[in-house]
């Protein structure tokens, strides 16, 4: 594990930063009736010594996370701090975990100290007061260590709520063998992509340019990449939802051409059928996050050597533009009885030590120092025919458009997405109209929950 020695360095740096931060966490107040009573750290002013002392004491940290690399990261942390036991629990992936987290918060018991939370879901938990802010733990100075869009996602309303775990800057993954076989050009614009889709399916009706049966994460990321900003939060209780967003219009107009003509494979993502179709070439490309390579290598092994990575197509063929999809952060949950150690742990995960372990075992890290390191950039996996894919993906990470924000109730909004946009996919009707319906339904929920929602 190459990360360990680096991690020691990183830790020393982190500790220094923490000392400077002096952990002024007093005065953190719960802003929701559903929050549980604050942990020890929120009622006392903790110093760096407290932090260091806490790490030397016998303690157990419960961590909910689902990323496969977390076991190694937890082990490395335990090795570094032999008195801390990390109880790593896989409470389900993504929404499954959020449901359980929500249950635990509601129940007021069984809330973990640390939870893996995707960027899109973070505002919902943060605004509900379920997350312990990391302000005052001296982590603010890490800002320049990450791409701007990543920091935007974890720094909500001026409060640092989590550390980054992995990121998912989007790129175009395509099956070169299929592209060559059917004479498709690697698209640089979305128009070209659509043209490829038409051509491919016309040549062979069992081939699809991509699979998309309607996914809220994909839709929001595509709007993001088109320069859209349909959600603007002001403060923690008010949000503007723009149904006339230009980016939304731009994206849906393009994607409609594939969707309404039935040029998108309807195989459900992550199903066994999906992996098989990725392996046998029935799905010729995917526009998705930079964490995808490990999944392809692990689960679509049949296509080894065939896949390549290209920058995400753009609307004008001009400067590169990307968006985040599916990256995660690690947050300290409010009510943690061991917030000092928990904060140390999320820092460990989000900085050199954890990030390096993540990167070494197939994850896509958030930290600039790794993204720009030659060891990372020069990797040439055989699965991708020896292409140095990380060069493309790192480039994508730095071209993620800034200024995006999610709805403060995005988890719920995503859960009702199938009712409107999903239906449009199923009926092959206009996506834009359906997205508007979805936004309005989400706005209605926000209003019900007491937010001030302005619908434009």
């Amino acid at each position: 594990m190459t990360g360990i020695s680096r991690s020691a360095q990183a830790w020393r740096r982190g500790a220094a930063v923490l000392a400077a931060g002096a952990l002024a966490t007093a005065g953190l107040t719960a802003c929701s009736s559903s929050s549980t009573s604050g942990g020890a750290s929120s009622t006392s002013t903790a110093g760096a010594n407290d932090m260091a002392a806490a790490l030397q004491k016998k303690s157990t940290l419960t961590v909910w996370a689902w990323a496969p690399q977390d076991k190694d990261i937890a082990a490395a942390f335990e090795k570094k701090y032999p008195n801390v036991t990390v109880n790593l629990v896989n409470a389900g992936t993504s929404t499954t975990e959020y449901t359980k987290l929500q249950n635990a918060i509601k129940a007021g018991s069984g809330v973990p100290d640390v939870a893996q939370i995707e960027y899109y879901a973070l505002p919902q938990f943060a605004l509900a007061g379920s997350i312990q802010s990391l302000d005052g733990y001296g982590l603010d100075s890490l800002k320049s260590d990450y791409p701007a869009a990543v920091w935007d996602a974890i720094d909500i309303n001026g409060s640092l709520d989590a550390t980054p775990q992995d990121t998912g800057p989007m790129a175009l993954f395509y099956n070169e063998k299929v592209f060559k076989q059917y004479g498709l050009t690697v698209p640089t614009t979305w128009d070209e992509y659509v043209a490829d889709g038409v051509k491919l399916h016309a040549a062979n009706s069992s081939e699809y340019i991509t699979a998309d049966s309607g996914d809220p994460g994909f839709t929001t990321s595509m709007i993001w990449q088109a320069g859209g900003k349909p959600f603007t939060a002001t403060g923690s209780t008010s949000v503007t939802i723009n149904t006339q967003d230009a980016g939304t219009k731009k994206y849906t107009a393009e994607w409609d051409q594939l969707e309404e003509k039935g040029l998108l494979s309807q195989i459900a993502p992550w199903s066994s059928a999906w992996f098989t179709a990725l392996g046998n070439g029935d799905i010729a490309s995917l526009v998705t996050g930079a964490w995808m390579p490990a999944n392809l290598e692990g689960s679509a092994a049949a296509a080894s050597g065939d896949w390549r990575v290209a920058p995400m197509p753009t609307y004008d063929g001009g400067s590169p533009a990307s968006a985040e999809s599916g990256g995660s952060s690690d947050a300290v949950m409010k009510g943690s009885s061991n917030a000092l150690v928990a904060a140390a742990f999320v820092q460990f995960m989000g900085t050199d030590a954890g990030e390096q372990i993540l990167a070494d075992s197939g994850g896509f890290p958030a930290e600039n120092s790794i993204l720009n390191s030659s060891a990372f950039l020069d990797q040439a996996p055989a699965y991708f025919g020896g292409q140095k894919i990380n060069q493309v993906l790192s480039q994508a990470a730095s071209s993620v458009l800034p200024g995006w924000s999610y709805m403060p109730f995005q988890v719920y909004a995503n859960s009702i997405y199938p009712d409107s946009v999903g239906k449009a996919y199923a009926n092959k009707t206009d996506i834009y109209a359906a997205v508007s319906t979805w936004f309005k339904a989400s706005a209605a929920y926000g209003q019900q929950q007491g937010f001030t929602v302005t619908v434009q």
């Binding site: 929701s32 009736s33 559903s34 929404t95 959020y98 449901t99 929500q102 249950n103 509601k106 605004l127 509900a128 049966s213 309607g214 209780t237 309807q266 195989i267 459900a268 992550w270 199903s271 066994s272 059928a273 098989t276 179709a277 029935d282 109730f409 988890v411 719920y412 859960s415 009702i416 199938p418 009712d419 999903g422 239906k423 996919y425 199923a426 009926n427 929920y445 019900q448 929950q449 007491g450 937010f451």
Partner: protein, 313 residues
């Protein structure tokens, strides 16, 4: 309550105390309570208390911003004009109007066949058809989800063999029948067993008399077997109706491979679950649960009334 009475032996049951009273010995008035107490205590705690608590919750609204406040009947008025809830309810109504009769008729047919004594290896059939009942519905739905696959499932296999393009069972139009099929698969053998057990109770003398009359198999079914199955059919119907409104596991397990078709409010239970755990609308979710419970009781009662009238006629 009345829902249960026909044919389940409850009439006979309510004769029980009378019979004992006739014998005129009430030895220990409170010993009966003693025997019943453990059941009742748990019953109060695990069934009655949650109902009461749900009613209490349904009178409040707890907002992410603004906190908890008394809301009177606001949740109920919302539920009554909630299109999501009613579309789920209508879907379940449709489901029970179609799936329940299909399942029960199949179960009846199988029961007749096994009872007819004209079947080779009857016990093999009885056991095999009953077997899916032992399969947890999670596993059942999982298996059928794979089988339904048009790429690599049974359907894909059939397509390749016969060079056809069968419609996707998990597509828009067929998803409800597809779920109906899973439920039918799980419970047809179980209902068959009930009917079969009721058939076995018919005394031989009746058949012997019918034989003397030279009654054919169909006449025996029509005039002897069907009438004596009435009570069992009524029970099976009432409980299949209740079961329909409870539908949760099958759509929940199928959801990841048919998100667009199932959505967030496919069945009232699924809706209540999503409201609670994706939307933190615990109070509204409790309201939906109560409304649904009341509607189920009403429908079950109506079904039973209609069935009883049929029986008396």
């Amino acid at each position: 309550m009345t829902v249960l009475s026909p044919g389940t032996g409850l009439e006979a049951g309510s004769a029980g105390p009378r019979r004992e009273r006739r014998r005129g010995r009430v030895r220990t008035r409170w010993t009966g309570w003693g025997f019943l107490a453990p059941f009742l205590l748990v019953f109060l705690f695990a069934l009655v208390a949650p109902i009461v608590y749900a009613v209490y919750l349904s009178l409040f609204q707890d907002k992410l911003i603004g906190g908890n406040r008394f809301a009177g009947l606001a949740n109920y008025t919302e539920a009554f004009k909630d299109p999501q809830f009613w579309s789920g309810f209508e879907r379940m109504a449709l489901f029970l109007v179609v799936q329940v009769p299909v399942m029960l008729v199949l179960a009846l047919g199988v029961a007749f066949a096994i009872d007819s004594a004209r079947l080779h290896w009857a016990p093999l059939y009885r056991l095999s058809i009953f077997l899916p009942y032992a399969v947890p519905s999670v596993v059942g739905a999982l298996m059928w989800g794979f089988l339904y696959g048009t790429q690599f499932g049974l359907l894909g296999q059939l397509d390749r063999w016969f060079h056809t393009t069968l419609p996707d069972p998990l597509g828009n139009t067929l998803i409800l029948p597809a779920i109906g099929n899973i439920v039918t698969w799980e419970y047809v053998g179980y209902n068959m067993l009930i009917f079969y057990s009721a058939l076995r109770v018919i005394p031989n003398e009746i058949y012997e008399a019918a034989e003397l009359d030279n009654a054919g198999a169909w006449r025996i079914i029509w005039h002897i077997k069907l009438p004596s199955l009435r009570p069992a059919m009524l029970v099976a119907t009432v409980f299949s109706v209740i079961g329909s409104f409870q539908l949760f596991t099958e759509p929940a397990v199928i959801f990841p491979i048919a998100k667009d078709q199932i959505g967030s409010a496919y069945t009232p239970n699924w809706y209540a679950y999503n409201l609670s755990f994706n939307g933190q609308e615990y109070n509204y979710s409790a309201t939906i649960a109560i409304v649904m419970g009341v509607l189920t009781v009403i429908v079950a009662y109506l079904v039973q009334r209609i069935g009883r009238r049929g029986q008396e006629a």
